[in-house]
Amino acid sequence: MTIERHNYDVLVIGAGGAGLRAAVEAREAGLRVAIICKSLFGKAHTVMAEGGAAASMGNVNDNDNWMVHFRDTMRGGKFLNHFRMAELHAKEAPDRIWELETWGALFDRTKAGKISQRNFGGHEYPRLAHVGDRTGLELIRTMQQKIVQLQQKDGRETGDMESGIKVYAELTITDILKENGKISGAYGYWRESGSEVLFEAPAVIIATGGVGKTFKITSNSWEGTGDGHALALKAGANLVDMEFLQFHPTGMVWPPSVRGILVTESVRGEGGVLTNTNGERFMFKYIPDVFKDKYADNEAEADRWYEDQDNNRRPPELLPRDEVARAINTEVKAGRGTEHGGVFLDVSKRLSAEIIKKRLPSMWHQFYELAGVDITKEAMEVGPTCHYVMGGVEVEPDTAAAVGVPGLFAAGEVAGGMHGSNRLGGNSLTDLLVFGRRAGIGAIDYVKNNGANPVSQAAIAAAAAKIQAPFDRQGGENSYSLHAELQEITHNLVGIIRTKVELEEAIIKIAEIRKRSANVSVSGGRKFNPGFHLAFDLDNMLLVAESTAKSAINREESRGGHTRDDFPGMNNKWRQINNISSFDGNQVNIREQVLPTIPKELFDLFDVHELEKYMTPEEIAKGGSN
């Protein structure tokens, strides 16, 4: 059998923000680049980002600078972030935003004509560059069009617009290939035809995004199946801290057509209240001690805050995301949730229809058009939705090189370390740009020093056999049902609140599903067959779920996006530890690895009393490394 073969210098898997930024960088350096996406070009999940891109340009408040941004990011991540990634991100984010403008992006403006910046949770100053509530779309479109510009340039020079950079849309990668311990390429299939493709390239950049589809309720699209996480694991790379997942507290839970879709925080900011099925405004019961002086403990004061913020404490609906998510989860588990597993969020009682439509136009449209719910008249049903994974491929911060696999790079949501245990809103879009570019540079340098690394016939045969296997089995398991079963397990046992007993059960059950998944069979042919596609996605999600469950059981504390009912507090000993997942071909293994010590110049950016909350006395005494 002859298979379709392509040769490139750099292969970028994923065409979201990080992948496209990496591809631009590599092409501008003269390398030949292939971009691979599971969807059509321009549909990546980046388009869903609404809030904006955090960069300390200081256009709205000139007190802002990279140091303030760095501090905010480390606080948000509860000091588990890789300091160097947070530092590079804070320093380079403004340049990455300005650069987009030179490629044609049109951000909203300040009165002085600069890029406007908005406030967001956890950011000390107005910092998010934005375009209404469609900032992600602007990023994707700008880079998509930048790539067209590069193609037009190549077209003028060579007569072939796709000679230097080509997009392979609707193609799934099933294996990353290595020869002699180094990257040699990747293998996959066209989703349209099911026919197989070999890419030979000495450098592969993984930019595949998140893992949300591992969970039952998620804001992620079907693409968020952790492909890059799993491909990296199988290629011998490590994942760091896979226990940290961000659950947005208010995702739609009903009707099913919109399950998981985000309800923006501003609904609560504008006066939306959360109630359980007893009609109780329950958030007053969930104000942690450290926040008692900032949040109202009675309805009268909470209601007054909307009119007079100087003399009243904030309503508890505006507590940080993780607190609200946990509170809703507790109410539902206690039987005070709706039959669909949510609680009520209502703005209709406080605001007039006119004001709701004016202040929350996109929310009103989202509910009215997607769900047939009129939020000016009725309550929304909401619950926590899996939104973002902080954990990901362990990388060298400066080059985005995956630790342990020469030639492999990772950037964006699929990479770990940058956000620590919890990501701030707005930091994701600039993460894509900063580390997408750095992954591109990393690959450029690598390719300069490492020539082609041909793929062996044996590697091709093994990859091809794997793709054919589900068609050769008859009457085996159905990938849709196995996926649904996996989602039930993760939702119930590896969700927002975790316990040792439940995690142990989850690990056993995930292993059982993995065993059964080896027997998945597919009906129909190879041509655009979603059952066949899911069979491969399922394999990836199983590895992700196993890594998450095993990391979660190992971390005996609660921090950011990981809450253990049996270990409720933060533990400064655990702040020094990353959980590293690796794959031995059979199962995921976890080992503890000590975080690098923060250098003195970054240590000194903080008030030592703040650091005392997170660090051990020995660490404080050391005062950072030199």
């Binding site: 059509l40 549909k43 909203d108 067209v148 009903w254 597919v522 655009f528």
Partner: protein, 252 residues
């Protein structure tokens, strides 16, 4: 409150195909994409349908529902009568690959033909200053989610394969208009090339594109007509005369 609904789905590929009737459960509040997914998971494991965000933001699940170009994720099942059969077919203007999935590569080829944005050479990153009111005109067109429903409905190409070569279509007229109205773009003659190279003159402003746009972009009024009006060196274009009689809508 689930009920059974009647769905008629086109199944087949470029060689052959037919409408297949199925009965499928629909729950309150569901959209057409939900019931298609249920058919996929329970009755037709290999039913091909494109989708992605399921929130009207990515423009992947374009198809024709009872003959109208729509996003399946934005079409409520409840918007049809209880006894009505909902018929879903692939986009007609593009070649079928399989079932509800069509080959939309025409659009990506056209995208590559539109000259890219050109930034002023002497304007360094971070130095740009623009008024909000000036960026808003182009921002309207940058809302486009590339669902290609406007391309599908446009009768210049819908039943006229032969026109595709010389006609970029509404999606790319708004792309040209966006660049033309971009406060910083330095490339000249965009309107002229729209007319001469991308087929702007073939549009006779029936506004079908505007009607199907899920982002409510006023494609005809705010992009096509203003460009037609200002094209320098127009030879003969009946739409130009008509365009001059239709005023730009209020609000922008």
């Amino acid at each position: 409150m689930a009920r059974n609904i009647k769905l008629r789905i086109w199944r087949g590929d470029s060689t052959d195909g037919a409408l297949k009737d199925v009965v499928v459960e629909a729950n309150e509040g569901e959209v057409v994409l939900d019931v298609i997914h249920r058919v996929q998971a329970t009755q037709m494991g290999d039913l091909a349908v494109r989708w992605n965000c399921k929130a009207g933001k990515c423009g992947s699940c374009s198809m024709e529902i009872n003959g109208k170009p729509r996003l399946a994720c934005m079409t409520q099942v409840a918007s049809f009568g209880e006894e009505e059969t909902i018929t879903v077919t692939p986009l007609r203007a593009f070649p079928v690959i399989k079932d509800l999935v069509t080959d939309v590569s025409f659009n990506y080829k056209k995208a590559m033909e539109i000259p890219a944005y050109e930034h002023p050479k002497d304007l360094a990153p971070g130095e740009a200053r623009m008024e909000q009111i000036d960026v808003e005109r182009s921002q309207e067109f940058r809302k486009c989610i590339e669902c290609f429903l406007c391309q599908d409905v446009c009768h210049v190409v819908r039943d006229h394969e032969e026109n595709k070569k010389s006609f970029a279509g509404p999606r790319f007229f708004i792309r040209i208009a966006e660049l033309d109205m971009h406060p910083l773009d330095t490339l000249k003659n965009r309107k002229k090339t729209a007319q001469e190279e991308h087929g702007l003159g073939m549009c006779n402003i029936t506004k079908c594109c505007t009607e199907v746009c899920p982002e409510h972009i006023r494609i005809t009024d705010n992009a096509i007509i203003p460009m037609k009006e200002r094209v320098v060196d127009i030879k003969y274009d009946p739409a130009r005369w008509l365009g001059s009689k239709i005023r730009r809508r209020e609000g922008l």
